[in-house]
Structure formats: C-alpha cells, structure tokens
C-alpha cells in the first residue's frame, strides 16, 4: 500500500479522497473529465425509496467563502438508481462505492438499503440523517439521539456491509448523536452535512432560495467541521469520514489530524470539476512539506500531541 492509503471500516482506500454526495452525481459524468478510479471512492447522489424532483428553483445562492443549496434530494429513486445509474457508474469505476441513502421514515431507509443490497460493488452505506432541505425527514432523524439510534439500528439489521451515519452540524451536542449511532451499530460516522443558512435579495426583499433556507457549504464551514470531527473522534471508537469545506491537500491533512480516517470533498467539485483529483495529486508534495511519511500515521494525531 502507498503513502496515501487508508482504511475505512475494514475496506482499504488507495487514498482518502471521496467526492461527497450531491456534488458528484452518480460519478460517470465526471469520467468524461478524468479517470475516476484515481479517487479513493465516491459517495453517490442521495437516494430515496421513491423518485423525487426536489425543491423549486432557485436552489442555489452564493455567500462569502461558500454557497447555499436547497436541492431537496432530487434523485430518480432506489430502483432506478440500482437499474440505470449504477450500471453506468460501474462501467467507469471499479472500486467499492459509497451508497448515500436518505428517507422520510425508518422504513424508507430500510427499504432503500434492501433494494440497493442487490449491487455487489457497494462498499458502504452512508445513511444521511442530516439533510436540512426536506421536511418531515432527513435532518429530523439526525438531531435527536433516539431517532438516530432507531434509523441506524434498523438499517444495521438488513445489511452486513459497513453502515456509516452522516451527521448534521445543526445540533447542540454532536457527540451525543455520534454516540447514539455507534451504540446502534454504526461502523463509522461521517460529518458534517451542511449548516442551515439563508440569504435575502435586497431588490425583492425576499429570500433568494425558493425554499427560504438552504445548506451552507464551502471553505467557510471548514473550521466548524474540523471542530466537530475532533470532538466526535475523542468520543467514539469507530472511524470518521471528515468533510466540510475541504478544498486543498492541506485541508485533508488537517482533517485527518483532527481524527478523520478518510475525507469527502463537496462544494469544491462544483467550482472545479478537477478539484478531487487535484487534491490527490497535491497530497504527496504537501505531506513532504510537513514531514508526513504515511497519511495513516496522522489520523487523530492532534489529540495525542496535546496529551
């Protein structure tokens, strides 16, 4: 294994960089730009049991250091993902895939995972209990420890593959949610989803987003994400996928020092389709500069340094 290699829930990764759900579609369209097998893995577009168009437009707004989105889980539904999208992805991607799953009830999550179980190339389920842009589901499961426990333990019962709980930062105590997920049998934690935000158009005096609010992502959220990864790493024994504003190789290293075993790159893909690849290519040079021989050596090192 190379200097960039890491491991996530027992599955080796050639490098820690994973494009985040919602910023990379189902991957195959990026294969027109570069060989996506260079990536550690990829987390595909949040999939629900039934097809969803999502929210009305405008769904996108800009802000300093980032953006707001209120897409609202647009996806063709689990069956179409399995039968139409994943076959296209598998033609251009041969590594284990991270399947991002969302729902509006516990049984939604369970049924979606059951359908996706037919796809052998899925390596992990990333259970999104943190979407801020839909009502009556998503984030409501990720803001209450007992609801998070219920979703994760139910999904746990229908698959033997690693289950990763994707957490919302829009909570008072991220650690209690992470602990509930670990107790429910999660094999890993990924964080953070977007931070709830809002913009107003000065001319119309109305919200820019048709949904009024949206999720903030981009470099602006990086310190918040880093802090939460650090706190959760101290509190749980399962591995962490760190994300939130990562746009450089330096950000990857910082996130891993805070406790992440792998990282997801989100908004950066939207302003530079080559962002994830560029980060991977930059890593060896940046590791050199900071005297890092192997990335796996630095996971959670900051907490140890403090002691």
């Amino acid at each position: 294994m190379g200097r960039l290699s890491t491991e996530l829930c027992g599955i080796p990764l050639e490098n820690p960089v994973i494009p985040a759900s919602g910023t990379f579609g189902f991957g195959y369209e990026f294969a027109e730009y570069y060989d996506i097998n260079r990536l550690g893995s990829l987390s595909f577009k949040g999939t629900t049991l039934n097809p969803r168009f999502g929210n009305p437009t405008p769904r996108i707004a800009e802000c300093t250091g980032g953006m707001l989105n209120a897409v609202g889980l647009q996806n063709p539904g689990a069956r179409a993902v399995l039968e139409e999208e994943l076959p296209k992805l598998k033609k251009v991607f041969s590594k284990p895939i991270m399947a991002n799953v969302s729902g509006f009830s516990v049984s939604d999550y369970v049924e979606t995972v059951r359908i996706l179980e037919a796809e052998k190339q899925i390596g992990w389920y990333e259970i999104n209990i943190s979407c801020p842009n839909v009502h009556g589901g998503g984030m409501s499961f990720g803001t209450d420890p007992s609801a998070a426990f219920e979703v994760i333990s139910s999904v746990r019962q229908v698959t033997d593959r690693p289950v990763i709980a994707k957490l919302s930062p829009n909570v008072t105590d991220i650690v209690s949610i992470a602990r509930a997920c670990e107790k429910a049998g999660a094999d890993g934690i990924s964080l953070i989803n977007t931070l709830l935000g809002m913009r107003i158009d000065l001319r119309t005096r109305k919200p820019i987003l048709a949904n009024t609010t949206g999720g903030l992502s981009g470099p602006a959220v990086f310190p918040v994400a880093l802090r939460m990864v650090y706190q959760v790493h101290k509190a749980v024994r399962i591995p962490i996928v760190g994300m939130g504003g990562i746009s450089t190789a330096e950000d990857v290293i910082e996130m891993m020092m805070a406790g992440a075993s792998a990282v997801e790159v989100g908004a950066a893909n939207l302003i530079d389709p080559y962002a994830s690849l560029r980060i991977i290519e930059d890593l060896p040079r940046v590791m050199e500069r900071y005297g890092i021989e192997k990335l796996s050596d630095i996971i959670g090192v900051t907490e140890q340094e403090k002691m």
């Binding site: 910023t23 437009t57 769904r59 996108i60 980032g66 647009q74």
Partner: protein
C-alpha cells in the same frame, strides 16, 4: 467541457447595463451557438455562467448584463488579465432544424447568443430574420452588428423610442420556418403561446456548478426532470410545460 486560462483582450461598455468582453485562449475548444462558459471570478465562490456571443479562431466574445458584483468585476477588467473559464457547457441550438427561413428572437440580455447563431445560419445561406427587443433606445446594443452580418433585423422597444413600439411579440413575421428564442421568462412564455411554428428556447437559472453535478438548476419537462445547465440550456418547445 474544457478548462481554459483565457486572457482579456478588451472590455467595453455597450450601454449603461451591458458590457462586451473579448478573451483569447479558446485553443481547441469548439464553440457551438447557444452554449455557455462558466467563469471563476477572483474573490467569489461560484462561477458566473455567461452565454457565448461569438467565437472567432482563438477569440471568444461575451456580451453580458452587469447585474451584480461578479459581472461588475468582469466589466472593470483590463487587457492582459486572465480568467479561469470552463467552456463548451450546455447543449446549444439545433441548427439542423432551422429550415430555409429561421426566426431568431432575443430580448435584452438574451440577445447575445443569437449573434453566434445568426452568423452560423447565414453562413449556411439561410434567410435569417432577427427580432431584437429592448426596453428603450438607451438600452439598445448590437443592432448594427446583426445588420452587418446580413440578417434582416427588426427592433422593438417597449417605450417606442426606436423601431416598433411594443414587445417582440408585436413584430412576429408570418413566413418563418423555425424559431430560436432567448430572453426573459415572460417573453419566452408569450412566444410559447403565440408562435405556431416549431422552435426552441434558451433558459436561464441560478446555477451551482454549470456542468450537471449539483442538480441546482433542475426543471420539470415533458420528458421528466432536466438540468438546465447540462441537458439545456436550450429546450425544444414541445419539451416545455408552459401551458398555464
């Protein structure tokens, strides 16, 4: 899609709202009328999608309305400065469908993509009619450029200060084979109701990525959800659900 570092050759104001920018560095990018580019602007997170007005060899011409700080930044740039530009985005117009007498209709900031289209259709020896709609004479631009191409140009102004008083819908000729339209949503929806020839519309939406990854600019169509940036921005009339 191709990522290019392009160099500003010139920037000029066409009137109090519109600016024209010429950039060099197209290289091997193939520019099809109706496609757009997405420009990274220093200090702003999201790129700015701008439709292609003309492409000639290595030179790309953009004509855009100054609507906010991003476009204001572009309009204040100087020759020699560089920009990170994603090119060849979107589907562009279907020129094969034009017939002998295509009708091109542009409203305000929707006029620029009609220029490249008129140029190409005239090269194919089509009889091109262009309707250019403005609010008033002070907002007019590019009318002489269209005339120089050899198109039949009809100007309309809402306040009657030039050309025909009224909207582009008040100047529709009756002998055209196919239409291409780009402009504000009310204009496009009026054309959708009034025109009985086949044609296509270029649409606009706030975009995240501009290349199909984020689902930020989706729209319901007769063929299911479509991304304006990647499946569009040009959609055939019959794909749109604009009945009401």
């Amino acid at each position: 899609m191709k990522q290019k570092t392009m160099t500003v050759q010139s920037v000029r104001r066409l009137n109090h709202t519109m600016a024209e920018m010429k950039l060099s560095g197209l290289g091997d990018a193939v520019i099809h009328p109706g496609t757009f580019v997405n420009i990274q602007i220093p200090g702003y997170f999201l790129r700015r999608p701008i439709s292609v007005c003309a492409a000639d060899g290595d030179i790309l011409t953009l004509v855009f309305r100054i609507v906010g700080k991003g476009t204001e930044y572009l309009s204040a740039m100087h020759a020699g400065e560089t920009l990170d530009v994603l090119t060849e985005l979107g589907n562009g117009y279907d020129m094969k469908k034009a017939g002998d007498r295509p009708l091109l209709i542009g409203g305000g900031a929707g006029i620029p993509p009609m220029y490249a289209l008129a140029e190409r259709l005239l090269k194919e020896e089509k009889r091109v009619t262009v309707i250019l709609g403005f609010n008033g004479k002070d907002e007019m631009f590019y009318t002489e450029e269209f005339e120089r191409l050899g198109a039949k140009v009809i100007v309309t102004t809402v306040d009657g200060s030039a050309g025909i008083r009224g909207f582009v819908t008040d100047a529709l000729p009756s002998d055209c084979t196919y239409f291409y339209a780009c402009g504000p949503a009310p204009m496009e929806k009026a054309l959708y109701r009034l025109l009985d020839i086949p044609g296509e519309f270029s649409l606009e939406e706030r975009m995240g990525c501009g290349f199909g990854a984020c689902m930020g600019c989706s729209m319901e169509t007769r063929n299911g959800p479509r991304r304006i940036c990647r499946d569009g921005p040009v959609f055939a009339k019959e794909e749109l659900l604009w009945e009401d």
